[in-house]
Symmetry: C2
Subunit: 238 residues, 2 copies
DNA sequence: AGCAGTTTCGATGCGTCCTTGAAACTTCCC
DNA sequence: GGGAAGTTTCAAGGACGCATCGAAACTGCT
């Protein structure tokens, strides 16, 4: 992990008892488990995903997963640890680059939806689970609240600058972020909401449309929207 | 149930073995179960709700629930049977009353959000569950698709009439309805997303804001929005 | 060769929940 | 009063999934 050897690492023999399932492993077992679990959680929900299944798809036996994670929720914790971080980082970057609030808001929404399409999760179920174990998911909620405050501030700035119509910034932030989370409900790479014949819209289309709708609904001069869209796409290519 | 006696029905002695829990029952056991389950499903999810808990809150023992419903999902089926029906009925009424497409769209969104705030459910979990048993939830999805098509048509009309900007009606319908379902993610009468300090916005505020944002984002002349809002509120008082 | 460290396995205990079946207690009607 | 029908309870049967434990199978070093 320290020097060189970034490509074509020769499959150095792993220490420890060999697996019963002898598929060659592509990445670190821990990462593999997280990737597999992430997908399954989104597809079937946390409650609906068994440790057996996670193990099976990771090329392990059920009990071996416990070598890497204390329990199922430890896996979830790891997944949730990065979800909001990514968006918060993007936000920081967008704010650092500057530009009018409306543009920054547009960019953030678009990026948020793209991120959620790539790593979907059911905010609702997360919420229910974390209600049971507040401490364990404290960080997730803390970052989620930070995101809310940031969007709130963005809206506030936009109003002050005369770019956006006069709305309640807090209510707007809550609604905008909830809408982002909703998008992935029906636009899922796999499985869910398959009942909805969603015609396979690409994440890019979905993200752009969501941003258009949201910012379009807040902008005083709708004519500016096209310019915002163009600039956002240029600055944040997929 | 046939004639008169709509108020102050004397608690006519029920036939059958008396309950261990001797609270007087306010409504038909079946209805009581549905009401209780509906609340619990929204609060903890279907998977997270036990038949024991449903029974307990309905004043019954666990196994007695099976006298009324074959299994847990039969209760869910009953709940989902009405969820979309209500909105579809409202839509039919709105369309019958006529008026410009933008107004009808505004009214529908507002009513939809109000309905979802009153009877929240996790569309995501429903989707996962129904994927496992397609037939049982066929009606729900059928009606959900009808709703999608109706909104699509509304948007199409609005564009044709020159009221709305030129968007993909299908993508718009999917997004708008998903957004409605999102609102209840954070605006819950009880429990969920409590981590989000949502300042107790009233359903009316939430619904109006959602409709403002959505229709505002589609309307060519944003100046018309205030009038639409006023008229919608008059025609559909809470 | 042998010991230490690492990774995995198989078996098992435990708890939880769903579901069923037979019996108990009630009112209703003949 | 007695049988029929309706409603509920108690008790028990399964199924299933989480989590733990001790042992097994490997590498690497001495």
């Amino acid at each position: 992990m320290e020097a060189g050897a970034t490509h074509e690492e020769p499959p150095r023999p792993r220490t420890g008892r060999p697996r019963a399932d002898d598929r060659p492993l592509e990445r670190e077992p821990r990462e593999e488990i997280v990737a597999v679990a992430s997908r399954l959680f989104a597809e079937r929900g946390v409650a609906g995903t068994t440790m057996s299944e996670i193990a099976r798809r990771s090329g392990l036996r059920q009990s071996s997963v416990y070598y890497y994670f204390r329990d199922k929720e430890a896996i979830l914790e790891e997944i949730l640890g990065s979800v909001n971080r990514v968006v918060l980082d993007q936000l920081a970057r967008v704010n650092a680059e500057g530009g009018p609030p409306a543009l920054r808001l547009y960019r953030l929404i678009r990026l948020d939806v793209l991120q959620l399409c790539a790593f979907p999760y059911d905010i609702n179920e997360i919420s229910r689970l974390s209600a049971l174990q507040e401490e364990r998911f404290a960080r997730f909620w803390q970052e989620r609240r930070a995101l809310n405050r940031a969007v709130e501030e963005l809206v506030r700035e936009g109003i002050a600058a005369g770019e956006l119509v006069d709305v309640d910034p807090r209510l707007a932030a809550l609604t905008l972020l909830a809408n982002d989370e909703a998008t992935q409900n029906w636009h899922r790479p796999v499985g869910a909401l398959g009942q909805l014949e969603d015609d396979g819209y690409e994440p890019e289309q979905v993200a752009t449309f969501s941003a258009d709708l949201a910012v379009g609904g807040l902008l005083r001069e709708r004519a500016r929207l096209a310019a915002l869209r163009t600039e956002a796409r240029e600055r944040d290519p997929a």
